[in-house]
C-alpha cells in the first residue's frame, strides 16, 4: 500500500461518516420549525415598493420577522393568492371579476390597499430624436392586434418619422400593466399584438429599450424614474409623466393606482399584521424611496384604519376602469 491509498483509506472513512451524517440531516423529518415568513408575490410594478417595505421592516424588527417577494405578474400573483398560497398579492390593477370568483370559491377574503399612484410610462432610447410626443391613436396603431406583422417601421406610425425598424418591448401578458395599457390604449383589456418582446420583469424591458436605438416600450413609472439616464420618456397626448402630472391625473389615460391585497386570514398572523402596519405607517416614505408617486397625505392613515377594521372586498367590484380618483379609492369596499 502506498501513501496515497492510505490517505484515501482515511479519506473514505471520513467521507462515509460525513455522508451518513449528511443523509441523516437531510432525511430529518421536514416538520422542523417553519420560520414564519410573509409571502408576497405578484406585480413587478409594485415589486420595488414591497421590496423596500420588506427591507425596512426586517431591519426594524432586527431580522426576527421575514418577508419574501416574488415577481409573477399581477395575474400570476392572484392565481396563487386566491388559492391561499400567498399572504399578500402585489397588483398593478384592481382585482377582476374572474379572480374575485376564484377567491370566493376558495374562501379567501382579502383587504384591498392602494399603495401608490403609477403612470405607465412610454419610453424610447435616448438617441431617438423623433418620437417626442405620441397620441393615444398612434400608440394604438402600434400596439393593436391588427398591427401584428404589418406595422414594423417607424414611418408607418407618422409620416415624417424615419425609415427604421420598430422594436416593441412590453410587459408579459400576466401583468396588470399590460391589462391596463391595452384597456386604455386598445380599448379592450388583453387585446394586443403578440409579436413584441415580453417580460414579466420590468428590468429586462429597461435593459432591452436602453440597448436598442429603435425600441419603444412601456412599464411602471418608477422603473423609468430610476433609469432616466438610459431612457427617454415620451409625452402622451402632449403630457409628460412626472410626479405632479400623475398625482393630478393630468397624465391621462395612463395614470392608475396600484395595490397590495392582504389575505384576511393571514392578517391575523402577527408577522403579516405588523408588516402591513409598518407599510401603511411609512407609506409615503417607502413609496418615495423607490421614486414612485405616493398617495396624498391622509390616505395612508385611512387605509391603515381599513386594514385594522378588516374591511374586506374591493372598491371596484371587478370592473376594469380607466381614471380613478383618490376619493373613489377610499370609498367603502364591497365584498
Amino acid at each position: 500500500m502506498n501513501k496515497v491509498n492510505l490517505k484515501l483509506g482515511r479519506l473514505s472513512a471520513i467521507g462515509v461518516i460525513t455522508l451518513t451524517a449528511a443523509t441523516f440531516c437531510a432525511s430529518m423529518p421536514a416538520v422542523l420549525s417553519q420560520g414564519a415568513a410573509v409571502k408576497i408575490d405578484g406585480s413587478s410594478t409594485v415589486f420595488p415598493i414591497s421590496q423596500a417595505a420588506a427591507e425596512g421592516f426586517q431591519k426594524s424588527t432586527g431580522g426576527k420577522m421575514r418577508v419574501t417577494v416574488g415577481v409573477s405578474g399581477t395575474g400570476g400573483g392572484f392565481q396563487k393568492f386566491c388559492r391561499g398560497e400567498t399572504d399578500i398579492s402585489n397588483a398593478s390593477r384592481p382585482i377582476l371579476k374572474k379572480e374575485i370568483d376564484a377567491c370566493k370559491k376558495a374562501g379567501v377574503k382579502y383587504i384591498e390597499l392602494p399603495v401608490a399612484y403609477d403612470g405607465i410610462t412610454v419610453v424610447v432610447h435616448p438617441q431617438n430624436n423623433w418620437a417626442k410626443n405620441l397620441t393615444t391613436a398612434e400608440l394604438k396603431k402600434m400596439w393593436e392586434p391588427a398591427a401584428q406583422g404589418k406595422i414594423n417601421n417607424w414611418n408607418q406610425i407618422r409620416s415624417g418619422f424615419p425609415n427604421a425598424p420598430l422594436k416593441l418591448f412590453g410587459p408579459g401578458t400576466k401583468s396588470g400593466t399590460f391589462d391596463y395599457f391595452t384597456e386604455a390604449i386598445n380599448g379592450k383589456s388583453k387585446q394586443s399584438r403578440p409579436d413584441f418582446t415580453a417580460s414579466e420583469d420590468d428590468n429586462s424591458l429597461v435593459s432591452g429599450v436602453s440597448r436598442d436605438k429603435n425600441a419603444i416600450g412601456y412599464f411602471g413609472y418608477s422603473y423609468y424614474a430610476q433609469n432616466k439616464n438610459k431612457l427617454k420618456a415620451v409625452a402622451v397626448n402632449g403630457v409628460l409623466p412626472s410626479e405632479a402630472t400623475i398625482k393630478s391625473g393630468k397624465y391621462a389615460p395612463l395614470s392608475r393606482p396600484i395595490f397590495i391585497y392582504v389575505n384576511a386570514k393571514s392578517a391575523d398572523k402577527p408577522e403579516v399584521k405588523q408588516f402591513v402596519q409598518y407599510y401603511m405607517k411609512n407609506g409615503a416614505k417607502i413609496v418615495g424611496s423607490v421614486k414612485e408617486v405616493s398617495l396624498p397625505g391622509n390616505a395612508y392613515s385611512a387605509l391603515l384604519n381599513r386594514f385594522n377594521k378588516k374591511q374586506t372586498g374591493s372598491v371596484f367590484g371587478g370592473d376594469e376602469k380607466v381614471g380613478v380618483t383618490v376619493a373613489q379609492l377610499l370609498a367603502t369596499p364591497k365584498d
Binding site: S72, G77, G172, T173, P194, D195, A198, E200
Partner: protein
Amino acid sequence: MAITSSKQSQVNKLSPKLLRDVREKIIEFILFIAAFSSVATTVGIVGTLLLESVKFFQNLALHRLAASQGVSVEELTNQTVSIGETLTSIWAFITGTTWAPNFEPPQVGILPLVSGTLVTTLVALFVAVPLGTIAAIYLSEFAPPRVREVVKPALELLAGVPTVVYGYFALLFVTPILQVVLPALPAASMLSAGLVMGVMIIPYISSLSEDAMRSVPNYLREGSYATGATRFQTAVNVILPSAISGISAAYILGISRAIGETMIVAIAAGGQPNLTLNPMDPGQTMTAYIVEVSKGDVAYGTLDYETIFAVGLTLLIMTLIFNIIGHWLTKRYRETY
C-alpha cells in the same frame, strides 16, 4: 423479556452462513433499488411531461372552441373535449407560426421557438465543430505529451464554467464587441448567444473526439507512415475515417448540449419569439421560454404551467431524436479494426 430472550436463542441457533446469505441478499436488493432509481427518473420525466401536455392540449382545444363560439372559456369548463379536437390543437401547436400563449384566444404555434432553438444551435456548432475537431486532431496526433497534459485539462475547464456566467459574458462583453463590427446588431441577438454557446461546447466535442481517435490502434498509424504519409495526411485520411463513429457521437452530444442550453440564450438572445432564420435577430428558444415563464412563479394547474410542460416535451423529443440518430450513426459506421 421472555419473548426477546427466546428470540435471542433462536437467532443464536441460526447458522452463521444463513445469516450471512440473508444479509447478502438484503444488500443486493438495496443496491438493486438504487440502480432502479434511474429508471424511475426517466419514468418520472416522461410521465410528468406527457400528463401535463395532454391536459394542455385539451385545455387549448377548449380555448379554441370558446373562441369559435364567441363565449368565455369559463362557461365551457365542464364540457369535455373530443379526441379529434385535441388532435387538431396538437396540429396547431406543431405548425403554428405565432407564439402568444397568454392571449385570448391563445396562439400557440411552437415554430418560432423551434426556429430560435435551431438558429442558436447552428451558430454554436459553426464555432464548436471546426475548433473542437481541430483541437482533437492536434491533441491526439500532434501534441507532445507535455503540452497535452497542460492543455487538455485547461480545455475541460471551459465546460466547468456555470452557464449563467457565460450569459453575462455574452450580453455585456461579446455583444458590445460584435456591435463594433456589425453596427446593425441589436443588443440581444441569437448570434452572440450562439457564439458564446459554441465556445462552451468545444470541450464536449474535442474530448470525446480525441478519445475516439486515440483508440484507433497504432498499427494503422504505423502502416500509414510506412507508405510515406505525413502526420497530417495520416490524421485526415486514416485516423478520422477510423474514428468517425466516435466523432459523430461527439457531435451529437454537442448538438444535444446546444439544444438544451438555457441560461446563455435566456440572458443574451432576447426574449422575442420570432419566426426567423437570421442570427442577427433577437429570438427565443424553447428553454428560454420555460425560464421566462418560471421566473415569476408558475402557479399549478394554470395554462402557463401546462404550456411549459408541452414545450418541455417538444424539447425532450428533439434531443431524443438526435440521440437516436447518434446511436444509429455509431452503429452504422463502427469500424472493425
